[in-house]
Symmetry: C2
Subunit: 466 residues, 2 copies
Amino acid sequence: MSNLNDVLATIEGRKHQALTLLKEFLAIPSVSAKPDHASEVRRCANWVADQCKAAALETSVMETGGHPAVVAKNKHVPGRPTILLYGHYDVQPPEPLELWKSPPFEPTVRKDDHGHEAIFARGAADDKGQVLLHLEAITAWQAHGGVPVNLTLLIEGEEEVGSDNLYAFVDKYAEDLRADLCVISDTGMLDRHTPSITSGLRGLVYEEIILTGPNHDLHSGSYGGAVPNVANILCQIIAAFHDTQGRVTIPGFYDDVQPITKEEKKQMDQLPFDEAHWLADLKIPFSSGEANFSILERTSTRPTLDVNGLTAGYQGEGAKTVIASIASAKVSMRLVPVQDPTNVRQNFEAFVRARVPGNVKLELRNFGEATAVITPIDSAAAKIGALALEQVFAKPPVFIRGGGTIPVVSAFKQYLGIDTLMIGFGLPDDRVHSPNEKFDLMCFHKGTQTAAVLYDKLAKFPLRAR
Amino acid sequence: MSNLNDVLATIEGRKHQALTLLKEFLAIPSVSAKPDHASEVRRCANWVADQCKAAALETSVMETGGHPAVVAKNKHVPGRPTILLYGHYDVQPPEPLELWKSPPFEPTVRKDDHGHEAIFARGAADDKGQVLLHLEAITAWQAHGGVPVNLTLLIEGEEEVGSDNLYAFVDKYAEDLRADLCVISDTGMLDRHTPSITSGLRGLVYEEIILTGPNHDLHSGSYGGAVPNVANILCQIIAAFHDTQGRVTIPGFYDDVQPITKEEKKQMDQLPFDEAHWLADLKIPFSSGEANFSILERTSTRPTLDVNGLTAGYQGEGAKTVIASIASAKVSMRLVPVQDPTNVRQNFEAFVRARVPGNVKLELRNFGEATAVITPIDSAAAKIGALALEQVFAKPPVFIRGGGTIPVVSAFKQYLGIDTLMIGFGLPDDRVHSPNEKFDLMCFHKGTQTAAVLYDKLAKFPLRAR
């Protein structure tokens, strides 16, 4: 008989303390994308390491070539299954700052638009809140005889910038990280009432297009009409990426897209997805996108191309009659099985290159490539995850495909040979990557309970053949 | 016999003092486009007024509803021709700041890329240097019996934002501003060796397009593919503005474009325009633009449409996977005779509106409309201007069409019934509206001399019938 009841009582008793720790965690501006934030990112790694040490884990802050990763283990006992718990402590840039109701790095508890208590801060749901709920579950277990599985925590600092250095890291430390299963809580629930397991993620290619025309900004009166306007040219290139049906026009883009099975399509259509609520939350009257696909398909099983940023010329108040020397766009593509990111990137680059006139210089920068993943929904891991969720939420979970990307999932498959159980507690309106990101306190608490139950049930997870 | 020789000697003697005054003038950041610079703009108006008073002119700083205008007069003598001297003391925004070799409001004298001494600062050539050269000529004349014509100076503070309030101002004070001719030095020379009179200017329509989709920025993974991406849509609208021949596709855009005469085309083709030098200065291998027109035609006698600014989503370092809630573009069109700005604006707006999907909000902002102008090259004013230039530069001027816009020229024609002599001393590589704007000190000095000679010759200008 396990100590689960004691563990859950401890979690209950630490609720206030857990929230205090979450505020500390969220107050550190660990923005991995910004070179000038490197010391804050490292400070955050050290904070995570300190929590692991407080839970009596053997802990190291490891160099990766980029931002450090925290690796921590409980005392591994031969014969028990080993679980690799992955998360990230880095966060997205908080801009635009003026849209935050409370500052992004001053965590604030208040009611959200629907009257639910939540903590507002950059990284609240993605992924600090979800990392901390596991640390809380671990802490509670450690007070009652120890976590009943062999745990290896890998909490990295570069997920939001593509986990570029983690591939080599996982390869290099494959022996240390060897496990039977990976567990990740960096995904969400279909809605607040529907516990969910994520059975697939999209991949990613992120590119920046930088065009340079004349060597300096020009007066649009004196020069307008006779020089290449890189802002106009950039728009022409971007406009060419889609046809009128919302399909991406890059040659070969859909060649390797595997259509979903009729069964999965049927299951997806049966999910209790509330389109009216979804549209109302975004304040738009109808959705957009590729013709003949549902919203859930468009956001999970279909590939996309989206501009994530545009910059050229004068962006201040009022008018300035200038022709910009430089114009740039950040463009990302979400990929689905079995598109190859490198192949997609090369086709993208060729498409852009062919559209740049000879009197304009083109620079292309890559900010990450990741393969889409699908995880089996009838596996032992999925079944155990479902039982844990059902025990806490009092209803069985649904299986959903995620539209986002966790680059490292494919690396775990490739280098460690293991599948990943994605069991997350974010909500669709958590505003991840946006101003006013939040994490619902109910999700935080039930997530902590679920993690504790999950460890208990994973003790019976079948060991892989060695 | 006039006192011109004494006047020119005084100008020679004040060279150092004139440069000191120019530095003072340029140090005031009178950026009319920025609401938070309003007090600096007013300080600059007061500075101009002080110089006028020092030259014993009767001077007022007049309210316009926007930034103030300075109006100053010498003692008007019945029977003498009255000259309205127009200029502007406001400047373009200096951004991007990081590209300035010396700060935009710390005027610095150094050699330019061709080894010529110049003063570098925002507004050096456009238009503070050219306003001050007239004030210097006036000051010198006032020391030797007074300027030999009736002068009315109108130096405004909103030229760089479209002179919106000046139309009503000119209408209201038409009696006070009544004159026989307007003189403006806010244009340039074909090159450093070729004195020039500008015989035409393009008009302008400046619009901002603001698109709003979902009510907040979204995670491109969770939402990408199913929401309107306003950055992509903005690019599609902008791309539609041109066809593959560089022609503007807005219906009716060319309907009112008056082709230039064979004679003017011939004269234009004979100008000593150095295309290789022009391209080398911009560091581009060839020009762009509307098919079958020369560079000089494209930049002066043909209408254009140029993006002046693009803003959407994440613009910082690295990657952020966000779908922006708002995207905007600043777009200006240069017009030629006899395009009607209001008509062009309405067609532009209808073109944009027709391309915005129903789940995206459109806001259009107008930042100015101005009609193109042509001034007669065989007029008495042009002949006198040519004589003045020839006396100082020892060669006759060429007549050129300017690509830029001085909105108020058409207002002077409309409300005061007078033509304008545009006699300017800027150089093509002065980087007006760009970082590292400069004014050549030779141009400043010869411009001062030319102004002094011009007033002398204008004493014989024929009075208009009253």
